[in-house]
Amino acid sequence: MEIVKKAQAGSFESSDVLVLIEPVEKGTGRKIEVDSAVQRQYGDQILTIIQESLDEYEVNDIHLVFNDKGAIDTVIKARLETAIKRASNAQKGTMY
């Protein structure tokens, strides 16, 4: 999927995560910024989930800001999927 616009998903609520995405020049690669209260314990795991999600949706060029408030893996994956689909205009069944 190609990231064509800015998008976000999630929130700053406890057990949630706010994912912000914006497009970058083709060939730039993945620029990922992670901020998490549990970064010391789970930082590597979080980064792996992000990379796996980007692999799944074949996103190669992206600027992604990840602000975690203690979300579990299931929530992280849901918010990443939502943000990626929104940013690539692939989301269905919603209103803006």
Binding site: G10, A71, A78, T82, Q91, K92
Partner: protein, 285 residues
Amino acid sequence: MLYIPGNNPAMLLHGGVYGADSLLLDLEDAVALNQKDAARILVRNMLKTVDYYGAEVCVRVNHLDTPFGMDDLNEIVPLQPNAIRYPKTETIEELDRLVQVITEIEDRHGLPHDKMKIHIMIETALGVQNVFEIAKFCKRVDAITIGGQDLTADMNIKNTKDGAGIDLARKMIVMAAKANKIDAIDTVFVDVDNEEDLRIETQYIKELGFNGKAVINPRQIDIVHEVFTPTEEEIRKAYRIIKEFNRNKALGIGVFAVDGKMVDAPVLTRANYVLELAGVDSDAI
């Protein structure tokens, strides 16, 4: 039945720990229009991974007449929660379309047609008028619920504390459900700090014949459970009735008395229901 907003990770994660018999993961009114996609994806993921400790899990989808209903069903039906709750149902034609859509999705995924149930919400005057036909439409419909907030809005009346405006609707819905041997679930009580009136309303709807009540805050669960759970005295009496029935049956006696009152078939039916609610196996008495 505890309502859980579909876009709230914390509540979706912890919904099972409060002891509700049933959980409603809501993609409809509890989700803002611009977050429908996020809630749908989140609930889908949660259904795959979260342990709800044996509680019945229902998902309230959006109506097929909205831009969200079809996508909700496409994401949720393959996961086969215990039930899909369908809002604002007014006619059997709408229900027929819903069943067709669900069946098509199940066929695409090689799923059976008889596992996941359908709970119908009656939330308009037209729905109330058609509730009997809706309740008997198919075996997948195993519960009817009343949506008090939307119904009062549809009727353009105030939602008063005594529920006078929706009283007839409540009674029609209970009667339709009972006539078709399915459950009737009452609407939410929105004043979460008013526990006294919640208890009064729950007692009233229990007497009408509802099998349960929806709640919007975990604090309300215990009160609803207290009202619906038989008292020790009721359980002991039901136990004595069934015990006496079994003893008299062995002697070939059809009608007998317990505590000076005649016991006949309806009394036995009620006694069995009390024991069922109390978790007592009446066959073992």
